[in-house]
């Protein structure tokens, strides 16, 4: 509802001003305010309590008064956590994993839904989310190129000064190791079932999935 009102008002103001000043247009777009659904609904849809949702929303609203995060802001925020290297590519993939409806902006509901899966979801849900992250073109399969992009993006976050020194083919080797483990039938692509199966066999991964429980 808020979104509708917002876009309607912006359309109106656009008609009132015939001059196509680009900066003014951008300013009007940012004035579009998106209000999330009610607290009860969100509480029902996610695994967070009301208090947690309140804290999350306060922080979110402070950062993005308009109620949506676009990709640029997202990249900037993520880059601040990894000052050593270049986090923009990984942030890009992450953004598209968050933005389930592929609208180009992440609303509070998307944000909270994803967080709910990552922090409070079942193992199955988490792994499925991760598969979705790796599957860049969202076709249901992970092939080597997609994995290569993801791994390269992760290594980019490390930056230049690492020990041991990053070699050119480190990401490739990493991808090969991954595919060795995940690709059961060796057909060069990893499906969701292969992925889930392989991850559940690996104790390290299972243990690590419990790591981020208490992030909130």
């Amino acid at each position: 509802m808020g979104a509708v009102m917002g876009t309607f008002s912006s359309l109106q103001t656009k008609q009132r001003r015939p001059s196509k000043d680009k900066i003014e247009d951008e300013l009007e777009m940012t004035m579009v305010c998106h209000r999330p659904e009610g607290l009860e609904q969100l509480e029902a849809q996610t695994n967070f309590t009301k208090r947690e949702l309140q804290v999350l929303y306060r922080g979110f609203k402070n950062e993005c008064p308009s109620g949506v995060v676009n990709e640029e802001t997202f990249k900037q925020i993520y880059a601040q956590f990894f000052p050593h290297g270049d986090a923009s590519m990984y942030a890009h993939y992450l953004f598209h994993a968050f933005d389930t409806t592929q609208t180009g902006s992440v609303k509070f509901e998307d944000f909270v839904t994803a967080l709910s899966i990552l922090l409070r979801g079942t193992v199955h849900e988490k792994l499925r989310w991760t598969f979705n992250l790796y599957d860049i073109n969202k076709d249901g399969y992970i092939n080597k190129e997609e994995m290569m992009d993801i791994v390269k993006a992760i290594y980019d976050m490390m930056g230049k000064y690492t020990y041991p020194v990053l070699k050119e083919d480190t990401p490739r080797q990493h991808v090969d190791v991954f595919f060795q483990k995940m690709d059961k039938n060796k057909d060069g692509i990893v499906t969701l079932d292969e992925f889930l199966e392989s991850c559940q066999e690996d104790d390290n991964i299972m243990r690590s999935l419990q790591l981020f429980q208490n992030v909130m």
Binding site: F81, I154, T162
Partner: protein, 647 residues
């Protein structure tokens, strides 16, 4: 970190779930943050005015007073609020910074008081938002300049101190450039000034007609011809002094080519050259005409005064920088002159006995009229000529009046700019340095955290608690996140120096010395175990083996070659695949302990928590510390390590 980043940290950590399937090593356990009681409202009482805010808001900036545990010092348990005995009006701005992330500068407050409040609350002035930054800086600069003027008026300004071991050349040059530094320089400065004046006056007086003693008929002669010897002696003296000065400057100049090309030296040369040319030119009538022309150049000596006057230099610089305006002036004048001269010529053509004989002849009339001089040696006589003449004078006023204010304002601007340019440059350097420091603070914090982990592993839980207490919950979680990334990629974050060392080590080639056998032995039993005990055993083994700096260097690159060796055999079967992650685990454990072993050395031995291994400061200590100090010399890390461990 910037505003609200703390808000996004949970999301960034959650997003690390995406790394899990790729991680070849188990990720480290999450820091045990005590269960937060949820968000609560804090009351801050500033001189009676109560401000209430969420605790999370204040926690956004953990390196300020309100965001860190420093505010506990101001907590009043009776009233349950934080009491500050400071200005409540200023506090509003400080609190708004926490809320919005932008620090605004109040217009009506004194900038000094604002600075003091910022310093009290632990806010760096560089945080002032862009909207208020210009004004803040201008006011601050004004203040600083006013204070500086007062200070300068109090004490006699001293020039910058010279390094002790400066050569005669450097001292000479400094004496030439800043005459106020020593008495001799000042004397020299005034003497040369005096002689410049004498020379110029002599040139002028030379041409005044002196009345000769009773000569019939009384012929007036210029003084120069009457007293040729006197003037010649004076000229010689001046030229000798100027030549000496020029040669001394040439000797003292740090860069002779640049000095030769500079304007002042050219002026010097032009000032003294006519004399020498005159010496060698024979005094016959043919060339004396040219010789006389040369004497004109002696007037350039007056330009030597520009060394003595900064205003003159600035004038020259202004003219140079106003070249475009001057060019415009000249161009428009030329256009107007040509137009009006043509018109006047054709208007006055019919008249007989007219002065306007040709268009170039009319140029003189046009110039004199446009600059409103009006000598009256050429006047139009026809009506048309008079009309166009008046139009010419009116337009002359306009055309000349237009660029002049621009030039004047340029001069004033450059003059003031000159004063402030140096100060501004210094401030910019400081500002950039501070910003760089703040940025590197986060990276250094993480590297610092890694070193502390090296201490933690071997130390008792007490040490661990001490180290941990220094970092806020936010920092702990952020470092845990970075640690997870390291584990995922099997590479570690290092600083630039270690990186370049490692690069150099790799390029030197592997030196598989006797340490190979020792470390491979150490690795053997270690690969079966998974926790800290084998690391200790390996560390002991490595330390014993690497008791010399050269070997420790060799083992650093030797670890790299080990890495290369292990990577090359392609794993074929599933079992060897399982072995590979373990190998890389052990490899990284080696390197990590190795790094930790070296880094734990700079702390003074008395404070080393390493009770189990008293050999630590001894064996590897001396050599490793020399390795560290000589090759790295990172002063920023050392005091911090001492600080942490001495707690």
């Amino acid at each position: 970190m910037a505003a609200g980043v703390a808000t996004w940290l949970p999301f960034a950590r959650a997003a690390a779930v995406g790394w899990l399937p790729l991680a070849q090593q188990p990720l480290p356990p999450a820091p045990g943050v005590k269960a937060s009681r949820g968000d609560e409202v804090l009351v801050v009482n500033v001189s009676g005015r109560r401000f209430e805010t969420w605790k999370n808001t204040l926690d956004r900036y953990p390196d300020t007073l309100l965001g860190s545990s420093e505010k506990e010092f101001f907590y009043d348990a009776d009233s349950g609020e934080y009491f500050f005995d400071r200005d409540p009006d200023m506090f509003r701005h400080v609190l708004n910074f926490y809320r919005t992330g932008r620090l605004h500068c109040p217009r009506q407050e004194c900038i000094q008081a604002f600075d003091e409040e910022l310093a009290f609350y632990g806010l760096v002035p560089e945080l002032v938002g862009d909207c208020c930054l210009e004004e803040y800086r201008d006011r601050k600069k004004e203040n600083a300049e006013r204070l500086a003027e007062d200070e300068e008026a109090e004490q006699a300004g001293d020039g910058p101190a010279l390094p002790a071991g400066s050569s005669l050349r450097q001292r000479l040059w400094r004496a030439f450039e800043n005459p106020h530094t020593s008495t001799a320089a000042l004397v020299f400065y005034y003497v040369t000034g005096f002689f410049i004046a004498v020379s110029v006056i002599a040139n002028v007086v030379e041409t005044i007609p002196c009345r000769g003693p009773a000569r019939r008929p009384p012929r007036e002669q210029p003084c120069g011809d009457r007293f040729p010897l006197a003037f010649f002696c004076m000229d010689t003296a001046c030229v000798l002094i100027f030549t000496g000065e020029y040669l001394l400057r040439l000797f003292a100049a740090p860069s002779r080519c640049r000095f030769l090309r500079s304007v002042m030296s050219l002026i010097d040369v032009v000032a003294i050259l006519p004399y020498y040319i005159g010496l060698f030119v024979p005094k016959n009538e043919d060339v004396s005409g040219a010789f006389v022309t040369l004497r004109v150049f002696r007037v350039f000596r007056i330009f030597k005064f520009s060394r003595h006057s900064q205003g003159l230099r600035i004038l020259g610089y202004t003219l140079k920088s106003c070249a475009s305006e001057l060019g415009f002036l000249l161009f428009s004048l030329t256009m107007a002159i040509i137009i009006f001269a043509t018109v006047m010529f054709y208007a006055e053509k019919g008249t007989n006995k007219t002065n306007f004989t040709s268009i170039p002849a009319a140029f003189w009339y046009t110039i004199v009229t446009m600059t409103t001089l009006g000598y009256g040696d050429m006047v139009p006589s026809t009506i048309a000529g008079k009309i166009f003449g008046s139009i010419c004078s009116l337009s002359g006023v306009l055309v000349i009046a237009l660029p002049v204010p621009v030039i004047v304002s340029n001069f004033s601007r450059i003059y003031h700019q000159n004063q402030r340019a140096d100060k501004r440059r210094a401030q910019q350097k400081v500002r950039l340095a501070r910003i760089r420091l703040a940025k590197s603070g986060t990276t250094n914090a993480f590297l610092q955290y890694k070193q502390n982990r090296g201490l933690e592993d071997s130390g008792s839980g007490e040490e661990q608690a001490l180290c941990v207490r220094n970092r806020s919950a936010f920092e702990q979680q952020h470092h845990h996140l970075l640690h997870c990334l390291e584990k995922t990629t099997c590479h570690e974050f290092t600083d630039e120096l270690t990186f370049s060392e490692a690069l150099g080590a790799v390029s030197l080639g592997g030196r598989t010395s006797r340490s190979t056998s020792v470390s491979s032995q150490a690795v053997g039993p270690g690969s079966l175990l998974s926790s800290c005990c084998p690391r200790r055993a390996k560390r002991r083994a490595i330390r014993l083996a690497n008791s010399t700096a050269s070997v420790s260097r060799g083992s650093m690159q030797e670890l790299d070659t080990l890495a290369g060796l292990r990577r090359s055999p392609a794993p074929q079967s599933r079992s060897s695949l399982n072995a590979k992650p373990h190998d890389s685990l052990d490899l990284n454990c080696d390197s990590r302990d190795f790094v930790a072993a070296i880094i734990s050395i700079p702390t003074p031995p008395a404070n080393t928590p390493d009770e189990n291994q008293p050999s630590s400061p001894g064996g590897g200590g001396g050599a490793s510390s020399t390795l560290r100090n000589s090759s790295l010399g990172t002063p920023c890390l050392l005091p911090e390590t001492v600080k942490i461990s001495s707690l």
